[in-house]
């Protein structure tokens, strides 16, 4: 993938993700209950709890879920880019909703940023790179449908992106480590649960 395509695809991925986040945040802040009493008992208990998996189990739990999202994003290569677009948007909406719920529950913006940024920077970067690669599925799909002889060449060109894809997976492994050993203890020390 050339330099120009990288920039274009990363911009598309960022726009989708940020658009989803704004949608999730905007909608949830409009309708979210302003008091904890309105929340279901299970949600309140979940927010307050400090028990749950720790250490290695928590690490592999987080890593597994993040790799699943990463997999869905890369699947865009063989699904006309659809899974990439959908999962990027969904991920953004989910993040926006989470931030909005934390904000309406009274968590200060600086605390939310401290909890999200250390692992979020690596995690979101890896997701955006995977999305930029997954969007290429549209080009591949067009080549397949128009019966181009260049399909094979395009597949070989895509196969050369494996180092980037591997780098993204490594970044997710680091991000899961930061989330397990920095973010979760930090959240628990501030009484914000998980």
């Amino acid at each position: 993938m050339d330099h120009k395509s990288w920039i274009r695809n990363l911009a598309i991925a960022l726009a989708l993700w940020a658009g989803g986040a704004m949608l999730g945040f905007g909608f949830t802040t409009q309708v979210a209950p302003t008091s904890h009493e309105a929340l279901p008992k299970a949600a309140a208990a979940d927010a307050a709890t400090t028990s749950g998996p720790v250490g290695g189990k928590l690490y592999f739990g987080i890593l597994g879920r993040n790799l699943a999202v990463y997999g869905w994003l890369l699947c865009g290569l063989v699904s006309l880019g659809i899974s990439t677009v959908v999962v990027t948007l969904f991920n953004g909406v989910h993040l926006g909703q989470t931030i909005a719920l934390a904000a309406t529950a009274g968590a200060p913006a600086t605390s939310i940023a401290r909890l999200l940024l250390p692992h979020g920077v690596l995690e979101v970067s890896a997701f955006l790179v995977a999305a930029a690669v997954g969007i290429l599925g549209l080009r591949l799909g067009r080549a397949w449908l128009s019966n181009e002889v260049r399909l094979g060449a395009q597949c070989r060109q895509l196969a050369r992106l494996w180092p980037v894809a591997s780098l993204g997976a490594v970044a997710l492994a680091f991000a899961a480590g930061i989330e397990t050993y920095v973010t979760v203890p930090l959240a628990e020390s501030r009484g914000l649960g998980r």
């Binding site: 999730g24 909608f27 949830t28 309708v31 979210a32 209950p33 309105a38 929340l39 279901p40 008992k41 299970a42 949600a43 208990a45 979940d46 592999f60 739990g61 890593l63 597994g64 879920r65 790799l67 699943a68 999202v69 997999g71 869905w72 699947c75 865009g76 063989v78 699904s79 006309l80 659809i82 899974s83 677009v85 959908v86 999962v87 948007l89 969904f90 909406v93 909703q97 719920l101 799909g141 397949w144 449908l145 019966n147």
Partner: protein, 204 residues
Amino acid sequence: MGPASHSRLAHGFHLAPWIATGAPWALWLIGFAMMTVVATESLFRDVPPDVAAIALFAAYVTAATVALLLLGFMFLFALSCSLMLLWLQESLRPALVARAVSLAFWAMTANAWIGALLVAIDPPASIDMDVFLLPSAEEDAEGVLGMPWLNELRYACSVAFAVTCFALLARSVKPLHALLAVLFASATVAFITSAIDWLGDTGL
């Protein structure tokens, strides 16, 4: 009745190709939307309004994601069929494979409409948000949503989709090759979805 009119009757009326291949997708979308709306509104009818608003938003976003992922995997199915046929040295144009998959998609349309009908006849009971947010490990989505037919209907329609796809491909290529292509495509889709689900369920 002359031979020409007899021929017309025998073949039925012909639709434009884009209508014939596009109709199952459009009707599936309508059926799926109906099923989602009826089921979701029924599930959250007794939930306090401010919590229900968030739950409904999350449910509709999830439903839209699932629907679009299905479309993505239909493309993967067609691509896998085409690659297998190419490997078997069949000279079938990819557009014909895509057309066969589009026509076989009637099975998924049936899935959506039967689902919508079943939900309309027997709407799921209102959900307990505490059970919904903290489901027990043994209870699957079917149990939580109160729609015990969901998986069975999906499996039956998926089999119907694969069989229809095979029948349509077998008109243009050797039946054995069509069978191998459909089996390979089914295995590819099943493998990818299972592998990602396994990772997501932290089987890692």
